[in-house]
Symmetry: C3
Subunit: 309 residues, 3 copies
Amino acid sequence: MKLKSLFTVADAATLLNITYAGNGEQTIEGINEIHCVEKGDLTFVDHPKYYDKALQSAATIILINKEVEVPAGKSILISPVPFDDYNKLTRKFMPFLASSKMISDSAVIGSDTFIFPSAFVGNNVTIGSGCTIHPGVCLYDNSVIGNNVTIHANTVIGADAFYFKRKPEGYDKMHSCGRVVLGNNVEIGAMCTIDKGVSADTIIGDGTKMDDHVHIGHDTFVGNNCLFAAFAAVAGVTKIEDNVIIWGQVGIQKDIVIGKGTEILAQSGVGKSTAPGSKVFGSPAVDAREKMKELVMIKRLPDLFKNQS
Amino acid sequence: MKLKSLFTVADAATLLNITYAGNGEQTIEGINEIHCVEKGDLTFVDHPKYYDKALQSAATIILINKEVEVPAGKSILISPVPFDDYNKLTRKFMPFLASSKMISDSAVIGSDTFIFPSAFVGNNVTIGSGCTIHPGVCLYDNSVIGNNVTIHANTVIGADAFYFKRKPEGYDKMHSCGRVVLGNNVEIGAMCTIDKGVSADTIIGDGTKMDDHVHIGHDTFVGNNCLFAAFAAVAGVTKIEDNVIIWGQVGIQKDIVIGKGTEILAQSGVGKSTAPGSKVFGSPAVDAREKMKELVMIKRLPDLFKNQS
Amino acid sequence: MKLKSLFTVADAATLLNITYAGNGEQTIEGINEIHCVEKGDLTFVDHPKYYDKALQSAATIILINKEVEVPAGKSILISPVPFDDYNKLTRKFMPFLASSKMISDSAVIGSDTFIFPSAFVGNNVTIGSGCTIHPGVCLYDNSVIGNNVTIHANTVIGADAFYFKRKPEGYDKMHSCGRVVLGNNVEIGAMCTIDKGVSADTIIGDGTKMDDHVHIGHDTFVGNNCLFAAFAAVAGVTKIEDNVIIWGQVGIQKDIVIGKGTEILAQSGVGKSTAPGSKVFGSPAVDAREKMKELVMIKRLPDLFKNQS
C-alpha cells in the first residue's frame, strides 16, 4: 500500500521505539511485503536466508533484525521483531474499521448500479456504473469494482489473506492492508471468495468470468478475459495471464505464472508455471497429451505384468 | 421457457428487425436452447456445423445466420447475429428484475414454512408447506421449492448459468431464463449453489439430500433420493438418475447421464456416462474395481523396474 | 448431549409407548450416538451386526429392536423402530427453534466483540470477548465461540450433520442435537462450514486457522494450532490432532485419526489414519516420498514398454 501522509524513517523508528541507519529524513512512500515491493517502499525481513533478497530488492527502507551494511541510497530500521513491527505499521495506516451500516456512508456507487438488500458494502468501497450486486454479497473495506460488473449472491470480496507466521506460542497473523480491484465487465458467480492483498492488491482483469465457488488468494493477479469454472482455486501471489481457461476443481500453487492462453483441465493441480498456450492436466499437472499417454500406459500394466511372469 | 402471451414469427422479425421464411403467423410457444428444445419452440444456431442439428431438432422456429431451405411445417428467422437476437428475445420475456424487499410481494409461501431473517426470496418464488429456509439463503426469481424442504444457511438457489460465448471483443453472456425446481422432502446443506437453467429448468427430484458446498450447474436434472456429499460438483445439462450416491469432491462433466443407482467414490472426475448400478472411481473415473487393480499394479512398479535392470 | 432435567428409563418407555427391561428408575444422563457415547448415556442400535457393540459400549441404556439379555447395571428399551424413537428423544430435548431476530435475545456476547450487520446469531449462542464476526456469518443455535476469534464473511457454524438413514420410502434424517465449539484465537475464513455434532460436539482447538471454503463435518475433533487451506474437507467423526497442516482441496475420510503434526499435501484424499509426523500425498494418500517415487516410475513407463517390444 502507498502512504497518503508524510512519514519518515525517523518517524517509524520513534513509533516502533527502535533504531535506524541511513537517512532518517527519507520518506516511506509505501509499505509492501517482499513479493510486491516497489521503489520508495518499506519492507521487512527476519531470516538471514532472505537478508540479501530484501536488501537488494526494490525496497528503499528495510525493517530487519540485524545491523547490516546499509545499501547505497537506502535506510534500515533495526528491530528485534520485524514481523511484529511491520504489522504495527500496517495496522496504523490501514486499521480494521467496524461498520454498523449495510452500505457504508463512505462507499461511492456509480449510476445504474443495483445493490440488492442484504448485500454489505464496506468503508471506502468504490463500485462503478451498470453493476448488479446480488443479495448477501460482502464487499470488504476499500474494494474497487469496475463498470458493468455482476456479482452473484453471497460472494465475498476482500476477506483477509490466509497468511500466518508460526511462532512458539502459535500462529501470528500478517495484517492484510491490500485491496481487491475488479476490472470492467467482470462477472463473478455465487459463493466465490477473492481475498485482499496482504500489502498490495488482488487484481481481476477486464472481461474475466467466474462460475460459483471460485477462490482467488491474496495478491493474485488475473488478466483479461479469463474463465474460471466452479471450485477453481488459486493460492496467493500467482499471476494468471490473459485468456486463460481453468476448468472445475483445479488447484493452482502460489507464486507461479500461468502463461497467456493456458487451458487447465478439470481437477488438475498446477504446481509449476505454464508456458503460454499450454494445455495441462493431472495432479501434479503436466502437458495434457503426455498425461493421456501415461493413462494409456497404466491401462496396459496388467499385460506387462503377465509377460513378466 | 414457455411464452405466456401470443407472439408470432412475424412479431419476432419485426422486434429484431430481421426477415423470416416460412409461416409468419406461426406462434412461438417457447424459447429454448438446443439441449432442451421442444415442439413449438424457437431455438438458435450460428455455426454451419450445427445447422442440421438445429433444423432437424424438435424446434419449430429456428433463428439462423443463413438463408436455408425451410423444413416442412417450420419457419426460420434470418439474423446476422442469432446469439444476440436470441438473448434479446429471452430478455424481453424474462427480464432481469430488481427487488428491494427481502421477501418479494409476489412470492407465494406455504403454511408451516419458516423463513429466517436475512433469507432473500425473489420475485415469483413459490415455496411449499413445512419448509425451513435458514438465514442468508438466497432464492432468485421464479424458483420453485416443494413441500418439507430444508435449505441450510447461505445456500444460493437460481443464480445465472455459467454460459458465455467467446466473441472477438470478449465473452458475451447467454441470458438465463430458466428456473430451479426442487421437489418434496429435499434437504440442501449450507453454502450450496444450484444454478437456474439457461432456458429450461434445473430440477432436483423428491427426497434428494445434499451436504454443504454442493454445486449443481444449469439445466441439470437430478432424480429422486440421490445423495451428494460435500463439494460434489455437477456441470450443466447432465442427467443424474434416481438413487445415485456421489461422495465428496467429485466432479461430473456436462451433458452426460449418470445411470440409476450409480455410486461415485470421493474425488472422482466423471467424464462419461455411467451404466445403472455402476461404482466408479478415479480422475478420469473408471470402474472402481478396475481402478483398485491399477493402483495395485502401480505399487508393484519398483519390482518391475528392478527385474528390468 | 447431556440432559438437564431428570428423565428415567420408565419415563422414556412411557413417552415412546414401548417396554423396557432392567431398572426403570435408572436416570438417562445423556443421549448419544454410538461414536460418542459415555457412561450414563442412552444410545440406540437397530441392526444385529451392531448389537454387541452397543450393549458392550459405555452406554448405560440401550434402545434396541430385540429383547436381549440386559448387561449388568444397564437397562434396555425395546422398540420396533429404535432410529425413530431415538430421534423422538433428541427432538424432545433439543427441539428445532425458530428465531425471528438477527441476534437472539438468549445469545451471550463478550466485551470488545464486534458483530457486523447481517450476521445471524441463534438461540443460546455464546461468543467470547475480542471477537470479530463479519457480515453474513450464521451461528446456529447453541454454538460456542471462544475469545479473540475472527470469523470471516458468510461462514456458517452449526448447520445440521449430513446423516441420513435409508428406509424403503426414502432417506430419513438423524436429528442433530450436538453443538459446535470453537476455542480461543481461532480464525475461520470466509464461506466455511463447520457442522454441529449429531449428538456430541464438533470441536475446533485453540489457535487453529482456516482459509476460505473449508468444511468440517459433524462430531469432528480438531486440535490446537492446525492449518486448513482452502477447500479442505473433513468428513464426520474424525480426529485431527494438534499442529496438523492440511493443504488445499484435501479430502479426509470419516472416523479416522490424523496424527499430531501430520502434513497433507494439496488435493490428497486421506482414507486411513496417519501416524504422528507423517507427510502424505495422493488420492488415495500414501507417504509423500513413496508417492513421488510412484510418479517417477510412471514417467518411465514408455521406456519400459519400448524395451518389451
